[in-house]
Amino acid sequence: LYNILICDDEKDIVSALKIYLNTGEYELFTAYNGAEAVEIVSNNEIHLILMDIMMPVMDGIEAMKEIRKFSNTPVILLSAKSEDIDKISGLNSGADDYITKPFKPFEVLARVKSQIRRYMQLGSGKPEQETLVVGNIELQDKGKVVFVDGVNAELTPIEYQILKLLMENKGQVFSPNEIYEKVWKFSPIGTENTVAVHIRHIREKIEITPAEPRYLKVVWGQGYKIEG
């Protein structure tokens, strides 16, 4: 049983989240401002914090900084601020994930699950040989399978090849033509947008929100890369 703290000054949102997260896997704590959140975290063992940014008494960023002084519990920020600059500053101040309001319930659930698994397995996981790990993605070369948060993503052989190429060269940008040459082993003439379509499919399988990918990123006008 994992302990999750939900913190938002909007009571309706807190209770909605409580309903969604009440699956029996989690014990739920609630707070309605940053100060309460800090107090609860300091008095209880919390495994994950869902926190709003704009709150009275003490805002989310400040509360998170307080919490970071004594705990490295994962924090997912929930905020109506959707600008890039807001996301960047939130993540830089120590958040592990950033969800913009209005959010979709299943997205929050998926991210919560992902963060908890990562937090709990941190340091304990012994990756097998010939296993590539990026974030919550685990690629096992032996069985040619990919697990995302421990669940088989069921990739096709071509998709598996593409993901393997990118994961082997984490951070490196591959143009569609390069990917085609390396995976299909043919010269890329008249291939149109084959690679782009496959990438899209992979993203739909491994990302929680394909439109805003966390791992498989598009570098527009250049190519694709894995980050994590």
């Binding site: 909007e10 309706d12 949102i13 909605a16 989240l17 309903i19 969604y20 704009m54 109506a80 601020k81 959707s82 600008e83 600059i85 309001k101 209005p102 959010f103 979709k104 319930p105 143009s175 569609p176 149109e192 947008n193 690679v195 782009a196 379509v197 496959h198 990438i199 899209r200 598009v218 570098v219 527009w220 006008g221 250049q222 190519g223």
Partner: protein
Amino acid sequence: VIKKLSKNLFAKFIAFILLVVFAFTTLFSGVGCLISFNENFFTKSRKEVTDDLYSDISYEISILIYNSSYFDYNGDIYVSYGRNYNVTELADFVIYNSDTNEVLHANPNQIGSGYIAKYYSYFKAYYNSLNDDTIDAIKIEVKLKPLSENSVLKLREKLIIFYYDNRFSNLIFFLITFLMTASMFAFLLYSAGHKKDCDNISKGFLEKIPFDIFTVISGSIIVILLMLCIGVADNITLTIYSYVEPLILKLFAIFLLLLSAGVMFVIWSISFAKRIKLKITLKSCVMYKFLSFIFNKFKVVFKFCLTIFNNLKVVWKVSIIFIAITLFEILISVLADELEYYVLLSILEKVFAFPLIVLFCIFIQRIKECGGKLANGLTESKVNTEYMFWDFKEHAENLNNIGKGISLAVEEKLKSERFKTELITNVSHDIKTPLTSVINYVDLIKKEEPKEEKIKEYIAILEHQSNRLKKLVEDLVEASKASSGNLPVNLLPCNAQIALEQAVGEYSEKFKANNLQLIVKKEEAPISILVDGRYLWRIFDNLLNNICKYALPDSRVYLSLIKRDNIAEFCFKNISKYELDISAEELTERFVRSDKSRSTEGSGLGLSIAKSLTELQNGMFEIYSDGDLFKVVIKFNII
């Protein structure tokens, strides 16, 4: 004390009397001093002085004798006895040949005895030239009787002796009396205008007379008096003929004349002092009044001319100046009869005209520079109006005001844009929070799996509309930011083919789902453009999304990338599902959509955002519609 005295009329009167007295004593002792220096009293003994006096007297008498003597043909000298016997001082006289000392004439009958002095005077003798036996010069020996009392000569002697006896004390006396005179005069000047119980300088009767007229009148009176005085003094001779009685009368007349001239002078001086103290010396002049009147009239006329000139149009001003110069040149050519003068004057004219022309050019240059800056958007720039005049100044000030106006307007615009963006962002934050609850609870109701079909239908509508609202809010913020340029743009080189390929890849599934056939044409050679990848994707995303929403199902969609000169052109073409009842321009306006598509999803901001983002990356965004054909062209410079 002096201040108190200066207000006392009696003191002033006393001072005036004293001034007169001192002035005359100064005059008297001054004459003494003059005589002392003239006759060398300081080196002579008393005897020598009296001898000189007697010698002078005998000389005068000998002149008389010489004038009344004549020579006959034999060279014999005769004296006509007349006036010389009336000279009471004459005791006896003898005429000698000055060369031979031979007596030429002796008084036939003794006319006097007991002479006190014997003096000789030499004269060149002129007589008949026929006579060979000429006498070059004659000597006249004059013997004097003691001077009789009451005679003028006795008076003269007494005076000389008095001056001689008191020659040193007289000098000191003169100095003292002169100083006293000067101080009395100074006091009168100082006290001029001061009155009892009054601190200010009071204006008297004389000060009402204009100063120059007053000066002329009093000056001429003084001059006349002095001339009369000189006339009288000329008549005075302290000689052998003079009688005492008329002399005293004359002296008295001189005294009166001098006195009145002096008084006149003192009065003038006092009045002058008063005027200076009142500071009306110049102003009370008739001449001054006259001149200032003339000058004022002239000034008014000048001002009038200047006003007229200033209100003339530039053409007229220039014409007048030109005509003036031409007239001047004609005048020169008429006046200067010699060529050299003409050339000289012409050069002079040019020397004066050149700096003026240069000045005009500088003004024009200044105005032109500022105008150029304003045209380039430097609204802060100002024309330096120093030394400018006429139309230049007016024009420069207008330019400055334009600049001010533009910068104010720009500032206002920027401020309002910023404010608008801020407002939209803040409002959108406030909308998003309740919206989150709405979306979540709709979802929760859905999870409850209501039995009734109608409820299910309603929930579907709620879900759809709340999602639409969410998209709308997000687009709103983005649109306002993109259009106001409030987005950080990070331009990097980007391969246009790959970008298009990637975008198409993202959308291929969706196109298939909408039964749209996608035809992509692109250049083979890599095309590199300078863009911000994220924003380029947002543009493609919006356009492709629009196509999916509004393209006629089962139709073909054409995408192309063409290189035209130095420009990369992305072209998106599709057949619209609905009739396009609005113009292409209007489509990019915020919130504008074809009316019939209002009810469908989308915020209507898609094209507006795409356009703003393209422009933010220095690209061009064009929309064409022809019947149902809808076409978007995006152009970027190739690097």
